[in-house]
Symmetry: C2
Subunit: 236 residues, 2 copies
C-alpha cells in the first residue's frame, strides 16, 4: 500500500494544495482522494481518515493516518531524503522551517479576507490595514530568504523547497485578489503562476463541479493572470 | 557562540515555555534572555532578535535568528540526534509531529479563554462550549498517542518527546484553570506538575516581578495544584 492523501476542492482548499505539492514536487507517488467542501461527501471522506479532522490528511503505507500539513511535510522529507525537499544548507533549512511554521499559524487577516479561490481573479478586493500588514510581513520574509539563499533560482531558497509549498496559496491569493506587492514578490508570484504542478492542480480544480457559494464576492473581476487553464505536469 | 533564546515572562508565555523545554529536555545548553511582555523591555529584546516578531526566537551559533517554536524544535532535534527528541519509531514520530502541529495552529478557544498563567489557580473558569470542545479534542489526541505508543512511560509517546513540549502549557492550563478532564488526562497533567524542568521554570517565573494585569481574572482561586513553588532541575 502506498501513500493516500485526502483533500478538499482543489480550487479552494489551500492546505490541500500545500500537502499535494509535497508529493508532486518530490516525485513521490500518492493516491489522491477528494471530497467537496461543505458537503456530506467531505464528511464521509474525513470519516475514512479519522481521527484527522481537516484536509489534507495522509494515510501512510503502514495504514496510520496523520493530519496537519507540517507533519506531512516533515514526514515525507524524512522518508524521501533523495527528493531534497528542505534546503541542503543547515541555516537555510532552519530558516525555511521558520517560514513554513509562521505561515502555518499566522496571517489570519489575509487568510480570512482573501480565501484561496483559483477560479476567479478580482481587480480590487479592498484590502484592510490588517491584510496589508500581513502582506508586508510576507514580503519581508520572502525577501529575507531570497537575499540570503535565493541566488540559484526563482524560489525562496533558490531551488524549490517545502517553504515554497507553504506559500503557494499566498502567491495564488496575490494573483487572484490582485493584491498590491512590490516587484520582487510579484516575480515570485509569476514563478508560481507558470509552475507546471500548480497549473495542473488549478486545471483539475476547474473541472470539479460548480462554484462554492461560500467563496463568492461582489468585487469586479478580471481574467485569471497567467495561463487561463492548466498544464500537464510533464509537458512534452 | 552557543544557542541564545529570547523568551517572554515565564509565568505567562506559553510558547516560550515550549521553546525552552526543547533545550532543557535535550540537555543542550542555551543562554536564555527574557523581557517582560507588554513592556518596552520586550520590544527591545525582540529588536535584538529581528526579524523574528514573537517569543521565543532562537539565535543559532552561526548568528542566524529563527522564529517559531516548531522550527526551533525541528532544528534542535536534527542538530542533536543523540537527545532523541522525537520518538524513535517512524510511525510514532509522524504522529508526534501531527500532535505538535495541530497544537501549533489550533485550540484557539482554549488559548484565548485560558491564557497560560503559572501564578494562580482558579476553582472554576466557566469554560464555554468551544473550550470544552477543544479539551475533548486534546483528550482524544492524547489518548490516541498513549494507547498506541505510551506503554513505556507517563508521556504521550512513553518517553518524553517534543509532542510533550507542545502540550506542556495545555497541561498547565488544565491545572491552573481546574478544567474538567478524565482520569487519563488528569494523570498526564500530574506528570507535568511533578516534572523537575517544569517546576524549575515555574519557580523562576514567580520571581520575575509583579503580576501582569492582562491575565487577571475575577474567578475564585485555589492553591496551585502540585508543589507550591519549584524544584531544582537536578534535585540531589
Amino acid at each position: 500500500m502506498g501513500y493516500e492523501l485526502a483533500i478538499g476542492d482543489r480550487s479552494y482548499s489551500s492546505w490541500s494544495l500545500r500537502g499535494w505539492l509535497v508529493f508532486a514536487k518530490a516525485g513521490v507517488p500518492v493516491k489522491t482522494v477528494s471530497g467537496r467542501l461543505y458537503s456530506d461527501d467531505f464528511k464521509r471522506l474525513l470519516a475514512e481518515f479519522a481521527p484527522a479532522r481537516l484536509a489534507p490528511a495522509l494515510r501512510l503505507p503502514s495504514g496510520l493516518v496523520i493530519g496537519e500539513t507540517l507533519a506531512i511535510a516533515e514526514t515525507i522529507a524524512e522518508r524521501h531524503p533523495e527528493a531534497g525537499l528542505w534546503p541542503a544548507d543547515p541555516d537555510a533549512r532552519a530558516m525555511a522551517r521558520w517560514l513554513a511554521s509562521e505561515m502555518h499559524a499566522g496571517f489570519t487577516a489575509l487568510r480570512s479576507h482573501c480565501p484561496m479561490n483559483l477560479r476567479v481573479s478580482y481587480l480590487d478586493c479592498a484590502p484592510t490595514e490588517a491584510v496589508l500588514a500581513d502582506l508586508a510581513r510576507i514580503e519581508s520574509l520572502w525577501s529575507m530568504a531570497q537575499t540570503a539563499h535565493g541566488a540559484e533560482g526563482p524560489w525562496l531558497f533558490g531551488k524549490w523547497s517545502l517553504a515554497d509549498a507553504f506559500f503557494a496559496p499566498v502567491a495564488a491569493r496575490i494573483a487572484g485578489y490582485n493584491l498590491p506587492v512590490g516587484a520582487e514578490a510579484a516575480a515570485y508570484v509569476a514563478t508560481w503562476l507558470a509552475d507546471p504542478e500548480f497549473r495542473a492542480w488549478r486545471a483539475e480544480g476547474l473541472s470539479e463541479g460548480p462554484d462554492q457559494p461560500f467563496y463568492k464576492r461582489d468585487w469586479p473581476t478580471r481574467p485569471w493572470p497567467g495561463d487561463a487553464r492548466g498544464s500537464v505536469v510533464n509537458p512534452s
